[in-house]
């Protein structure tokens, strides 16, 4: 078990370096000189040359990347081109907000999506099922940011119930997290429904029913536990999608998170901030996938037995 987790953690390192490398390479195509960007349009050529030397911009690509990784390991992601502050401070101060938003969104999606999916499967071909399916289809097709705009229009501008921007209280997170959750919720509803339908038809469920087991108990204890396995994988995968989606949602609600930081960095050509935010998002995504995979071991006894007995 411990071996498995540490192996997975070690496997994340090359992926993260790869992520940094890809982003580093992409950003290397950016036209323009960072030194000129920092010093401004009218700086003297000597100053620019001196700064280039100081920043190590004259080194070749691989040396620069090596230096960057070496710094990044110790938590030094360089300084922002825009305000000369350490990037790690800025990323660190904004990360909690994005994490909070993403986790709230995922919690909503899981705790609303899965029960609705179960209900829809149990009541297959009824009105409940049909309405759920159509609602889920609509939710997957609605852009999150537009849903956000519509909610602002209705709940903030018309009814004046909820604040449209800011992060001061939990109330501020209601609309953003619902907006963020919508798409994933729809995916979870559909996935839970289809896996539940598959499991319900299995022999062991029929046996349980034939033995006169309580209907609810059969659904929740026997069926749901087995149906949830693929759904849990999907939850892990969707965390990454939610983190990506948060970028746009943060822009809609003017939330000072990683997303708005990233958009600002793109506009200002602030490469260090951009690389750090992207790598940070990949790191969180990777960690969450890992946590989900570990959870999987506890839920699926077949996999658990593989690792606990130390056969691998």
């Amino acid at each position: 078990m411990f071996k498995y987790i540490s192996k997975r953690l070690l496997m994340m390192i090359p992926v993260l370096i790869g992520v940094a490398f890809i982003i580093f390479t992409i950003m290397d195509f950016t036209p323009g000189d960072p030194a000129r960007l920092i010093l401004g349009e009218y700086a003297a050529q000597e100053d620019i040359d001196a700064l280039r030397e100081e920043m190590g911009l004259n080194e070749n690509f691989f040396v620069r990347f090596g230096t960057y990784v070496k710094g990044a390991v110790t938590g030094d992601f360089g300084k922002s081109y825009r305000n000369n502050l350490p990037v790690s401070n800025e990323v660190g101060s904004r990360l909690p907000t994005t994490l909070k938003l993403t986790f709230l969104g995922m919690t909503l999606a899981v705790f609303i999506g899965i029960p609705i999916g179960v209900l829809s499967a149990v009541k297959q071909y009824t009105i409940i099922d049909n309405v759920t399916l159509i609602a889920a289809l609509l939710l997957t097709s609605i852009p999150g940011f537009w849903l956000g705009l519509m909610m602002i229009l209705f709940f903030s501008l018309r009814l004046d119930l909820l604040p449209a921007t800011g992060i001061d209280s939990m109330k501020h997170f209601i609309m953003p997290s619902i907006t963020l959750a919508a798409g994933t919720m729809a995916t979870l509803i559909r996935m839970t429904r289809s896996t539940m339908l598959e499991v319900i038809r299995q022999d062991y469920i029929r046996t349980a029913k034939a033995k006169g087991g309580n209907e609810k108990r059969i659904i929740f204890i026997h069926a749901l536990r087995n149906a949830l396995l693929p759904v849990i994988t999907l939850v892990g995968v969707n965390f990454g999608i939610l983190l990506g989606g948060a970028v746009v949602i943060e822009a809609v609600f003017a939330i000072p998170g990683l997303g708005t930081l990233m958009i600002g960095a793109v506009r200002a050509k602030d490469t260090p901030v951009l690389i750090a935010t992207v790598t940070c998002i990949a790191l969180i995504g990777g960690l969450i996938t890992l946590i989900v995979d570990i959870l999987y071991i506890f839920i699926d006894p077949r996999i658990k037995s593989q690792y606990v007995k130390g056969s691998r």
Binding site: G18, P143, V248, I263
Partner: protein
């Protein structure tokens, strides 16, 4: 007598797989609904030149006609520059559908090449290729696209490059697994025994048999791409104004939405319709291709 023979023939004749899939798709009401919407959208958008004048209707600003509500002359009203929303929505649709189609074509081609190579040859090549794809897949597609846009700059061509690259790994993965599922089957072994060249085996035998999940992925992925383009344009990193694009229009209308809600309602509905139709078609195709759902 001859009638009987014909009848017998037609009933015995085995329906080809493709026909069976098409038949099943046609019976799926939701999928057909999506198909009809998409066809109508494509017709409206591609014939726009016949009933709209790009310069006069889409580009020309008219300060006397600002914020006119929906009316007979302007079915969707006018925006803050007095431009007809209807014409802008139609031309915006052109861009969205074009970007979606183009991106998917490129990503599908690149992804198929990469995925087919990995899946067919297996072993070390597969390992190296798929580890690289894993790195790409560790970054959400939207964020790769943002990074590429940050480096290359905004604008239609750069958006196309950014989206194509960000979508390629998903296709590589789908194509690889589709190929793995076909590769070990007997008819491939037979073709190999006959001395058929690798390229021919991949193109003529493996891809046609593995194409189902790939088409489904392409359809659903086109839907996602349209959402991503709109999202990128909305945050100002996609198609730039004054070019009409649904996401750009939403960003433009956002500041005015308190007083003129139609500015943000209409483009959103356009996005939903386009994406919904593609999702319905994709789902329908998936159900039609699923042998477990054969009836």
């Amino acid at each position: 007598m001859s009638e009987h023979v014909i009848n017998l023939k037609s009933s015995v004749k085995k329906r080809s797989q493709l026909k069976a899939i098409f038949h099943k798709f046609k019976k799926n009401k939701l999928a057909m609904f999506g198909f009809v919407i998409l066809v109508i959208l494509i017709i409206i958008v591609s014939t726009a030149g016949l009933y709209l004048d790009y310069e006069a209707d889409v580009e020309t600003q008219d300060m006397k006609a600002m914020f006119l509500g929906p009316s007979w002359d302007h079915p969707f009203g006018t925006d803050q520059f007095g431009r007809d929303m209807f014409a802008r929505i139609i031309y915006g649709g052109r861009i969205s559908l074009f970007v979606g189609l183009f991106t998917i074509s490129i990503a599908l081609t690149l992804g198929s090449l990469i995925g087919a190579t990995a899946g067919y040859y297996g072993g070390k090549i597969d390992n190296i290729i798929m580890r690289i794809m894993d790195v790409f897949l560790a970054i959400p597609a939207t964020i790769i696209a943002i990074a590429i846009v940050a480096s290359l700059g905004t604008g239609l061509i750069n958006i196309l490059i950014a989206l194509s690259i960000s979508r390629t790994p998903q296709f590589a993965r789908v194509v690889r697994s589709a190929i793995l599922s076909v590769k070990e089957q007997d008819f491939i072994e037979a073709a190999r025994a006959c001395g058929t060249k690798d390229r021919r085996i991949i193109l003529r035998h493996i891809i046609p048999n593995a194409i189902g999940p790939i088409i489904v992925q392409a359809t659903l992925s086109m839907a996602t791409t349209i959402l991503v383009v709109a999202g990128l344009s909305f945050i100002g990193l996609g198609i730039q104004p004054p070019t009409p694009e649904w996401g750009t229009m939403l960003a433009d209308g956002k500041s005015q939405m308190r007083y003129y809600p139609y500015l943000v309602v209409v483009p959103g509905i356009a996005i939903v319709l386009a994406v919904l139709s593609l999702n319905l078609i994709g789902d329908g195709l998936r159900d039609a291709l699923d042998p477990r759902l054969k009836n």
